[in-house]
Symmetry: C2
Subunit: 341 residues, 2 copies
């Protein structure tokens, strides 16, 4: 659909705009080494590109800036993946060389590194509980009335919750319950735990112990609360360095959104796997209609485990970020697989 020359020009404009954040004019394009036509010619092409909806003019006598559609074309057809730079690669390598003993450390640290390398905001979702199974269940009494329930997943992910022991339950009863639960629940995927709890365990439990409803309710609550993945955020203040958010109100609405975990998770909902780019209004959330979100899932054996994402202005360094996310999601998958049996 686009001539070779038009693509070159579009590419040049977007590249320039990403660097400068200012409307780019025909003259400056012509001065670049790669497009050798005169400003007048370029102006003509630019007018055509604008008609096609790929470019926009902030006002009559200004240069052009890419439209959402323009960015989309750029991302789909034009962008060159720079690969990961030497310096960045080194940083990532030293980062993974450190001993990471718990996955929250890995994920959180990954978020930090990402935001540092890109100067954008990074959002990382921990492993989703859907795809994981319960490995072990444990109760540790703290005193007469309360105990700590510990849930271990086959990924090595651990959660704990302090619970209050219903009256009339003895230590012996507790031990029985724990044994029963481990018998029945080991290897069961988390999303099934709830139904197994009701169907298989309820009856059996009632034989051993009275008041089992209380305990069941507790377990259910503990485990379902468990399912929500953890969100790690880093570099939110980087948003403020972008000239498009020098307006405090815009900045505030975005930063405010970033503080709401619920919304963040919503952002990541429809994720088909692989790398996905959502540009400007392609995002459903109004607060980030001026932003682009690039997400990647990290997976193991075909199962998506979690998601990492970069949020920046629509004028984002797509090439760099995509390469980086690609690289990192592979590395994280590698790390995670060490815990996976």
């Amino acid at each position: 659909m686009l001539s070779e020359r038009q693509r070159m020009i579009l590419n040049a404009i977007i590249d320039d705009y990403i660097r400068s954040a200012e409307p780019v004019g025909s003259r400056s394009i012509s001065k670049r080494g790669d497009v050798t036509f005169s400003p007048a010619t370029i102006r003509n092409e630019m007018a055509d590109l604008e008609e096609m909806g790929l470019l926009e003019q902030p006002h009559t006598s200004a240069g052009r800036i890419p439209s959402i559609k323009g960015y989309r074309y750029y991302v789909d057809h034009l962008v060159t993946l720079d690969g990961v730079g030497d310096q960045d690669a080194r940083k990532l390598r030293t980062y993974f060389a450190e001993k990471m003993n718990h996955w929250e450390g890995v994920i959180g640290h990954a978020a930090t590194i990402l935001s540092q390398l890109t100067n954008y905001t990074s959002i990382v979702l921990g492993p989703e509980m859907f795809s994981t199974t319960l490995k072990h269940f444990q109760l540790i009494p703290i005193n007469d009335v309360s105990a700590v329930a510990i849930i271990v997943a086959n990924t090595g992910h651990v959660e704990h919750r302090t619970i209050t022991i219903p009256e009339g339950i003895s230590m012996d009863d507790m031990a029985k319950i724990v044994n029963l639960l481990n018998d029945k629940l080991s290897g069961v995927p988390f999303y099934k735990v709830k139904s197994v709890l009701h169907s298989e365990i309820a009856k059996e439990l009632s034989r051993y112990v009275e008041h089992c409803e209380d305990i069941l309710a507790l377990l259910e609550q503990t485990i379902t609360e468990e399912q929500e993945p953890k969100v790690f955020l880093s570099g939110a203040s980087n948003m403020l360095t972008q000239p498009e958010f020098k307006d405090v109100d815009k900045a505030k609405s975005i930063l405010g959104m970033l503080e709401e975990t619920q919304l963040l998770m919503q952002l990541f909902q429809s994720n088909p796997g692989g790398i996905q780019v959502k540009i400007g209004t392609e995002n459903t959330l109004e607060a980030i209609n001026q932003c682009s979100l690039i997400t990647a899932t990290y997976s193991y054996e075909g199962r998506s485990l979690g998601t990492i994402g970069i949020l920046g202005p629509t004028r984002m360094e797509y090439g760099k970020v995509i390469s980086l996310l690609n690289y990192l999601s592979n590395d994280i998958a590698l790390m995670m697989s060490r815990w996976y049996k």
Copy 2:
């Protein structure tokens, strides 16, 4: 030192300024109900107050604003603790009515509520490990090479860490080690664990198992990492609503600081207990030289467990915030004491 009238005027100026964020003039003070003198009289007093360093003039023909010293006097002698408003009290009550099963929930939620009620930024430090003792140690194998170490404190606080099992250690060995550790370490305060590990356990362990150094190193790492308290942050974006931070650069330096956990903890270092107010340059960190930080410790049986704090502009609603922190720190102490044996 100050006459009654001067105090009234100072109080009125600071009150007005806290509300309006704009220099307040003699006329507007005179119009308030509480100070019945004419603008001219008030002007004279204002000049005196300025000489004493309690007020400042941004420029010759502007009203006065409080200086750091002025705020200090206000906080020390003038401020009226409003108590906690009906609405706020209701919110807090419903908040604590919810079942909170893990302390991280309580603390994190408290941070959220605080920032919502005040429209400032809240920072809450979780219980410090100094004052707590180890209750139980547990190892749960995940597969041949890794296991999850679980550490339970007497407060009900639980931490876990995935560790890699050194080669040449059998399941049997592991069980022995765990038993030994529980024997020796139960009831030991965290800050002593390290030394006990070396002095008492090292020798004994070497009898049972080879390669014990690896395990000891692991445990040591696991437990010392454990000691750093967790930081919860909420409402950082509220900073942007304050007119004094409409300048993006200032805002960025503060938000950037808030993202660095290390710095946050540094903020809370010298904490004598009770409620403490640090105004403007009284804070050592340069980034918040335009902010005030109000902190309160929550404690149990005289021991300080953790700290909650509110960060806002120097022009902060001191009365309201102090009352609120007072109220909340008591309530949190109450909650925490439920877990304490």
